[in-house]
Symmetry: C2
Subunit: 201 residues, 2 copies
């Protein structure tokens, strides 16, 4: 049986995470992007089951209580998390990508050691600063906060399995790296226990 | 600096090891095949530095004494081993492939935990038997010995990092798997310590 993988991708704002993940889906049909649940209200244009699964605080806390979230966090008074059932259902068909923050990634790591954790990084602090100011969508205060947060995220590098540096113009390469990492991980001896049984069939 | 890898490839006779390795070199110029040293005499047609580095027993034991072999074994009264210096020299330029037996692979694993160990396997015992009898170059006694040895090698599967099953007609795929594994291994967080320093350059 083909064993699919739970793949966690984290990375600072400005690392190009979203674009790289989109590119992965263009290049391969063996991945599915997990949709998070949240208690925050939908913003205009957002769609249930596409951007998030929207739920009440009570519903979310029920999920937590029943152990039905893979990871969750509370941010600005709202819960964000990954519903477990949907992920396990999807894993039967495809590899599941989770785009989550460092804290969620650490929760996944401790509960599902078979998951593969990938940290996507910009090539340098200088470059990151350039990208963030370049896109001009945030105030300097927000950008400086994001830069400080990027340094914090870098501190978790050793807890990740893989590190991909998303160079300028490197979207394609970074996406191929992700695909290649998942392909290789499936050949890891610890994941190939069925090979021995098959040998004597 | 590009960090090259020491890659150990083992596999039973009939796993297609030699053919797969040849294919790796056709597909990528980032690999170098390490040439072993031996105390056995050259066979007709064999060339110094191509098939083996040939040396006397005294020379080989001198290497062992000085810690100048990565791994070695004694087989039918002759030493076989991997001279260290040449490997480390070559690693500055390319990934180095070592095609060695299980025992040598285990020596490498304990002395150089950064090495990547790949076990190449035939899809099944039945298929292996078919391949070995099919090539018609060995007596049934030798073939049965090889089959028994394959079972012994399979017992070391868990000590390897990766397992590649070389399916019938799967030479290309197996070679690509090796290339992909090495590419991915270079992105492992534990090998990317320089990323942090570069971030602040």
């Amino acid at each position: 049986m083909k064993q699919n993988l739970l793949v966690v991708i984290s990375g600072p704002a400005g690392s190009g995470k979203g674009t790289v993940i989109k590119k992965v889906f263009e290049k391969s049909d063996e991945f599915h992007l997990s949709v998070s649940a949240t208690t925050r209200l939908p913003r205009p244009g957002e769609k249930e089951g596409v951007n998030y699964f929207y739920m009440t605080r009570e519903q979310f806390e029920e999920l937590i209580k029943d152990g039905k979230v893979l990871e969750y966090t509370e941010y600005c008074g709202n819960y964000y998390g990954t519903p477990k059932e949907k992920v396990f259902e999807t894993l039967k068909e495809k590899n599941v990508l989770l785009e989550i923050e460092v804290e969620g990634a650490m929760q996944i790591k401790s509960r599902f050691p078979d998951a593969v954790l990938i940290l996507l990084l910009p090539p340098s602090y200088k470059e990151l600063r350039k990208r963030l100011y370049g896109r001009g969508t945030e105030t300097p205060e927000v950008i400086e906060k994001r830069l400080a947060h990027a340094e914090y995220e870098l501190g978790f590098m050793d807890k990740y399995d893989y590190v991909i540096v998303n160079k300028d113009g490197g979207i394609d390469e970074a996406a191929e790296d992700i695909i290649s990492i998942v392909k290789s991980e499936k050949k890891r001896a610890k994941r190939c226990t069925e090979v021995k049984d098959k040998f004597y069939e």
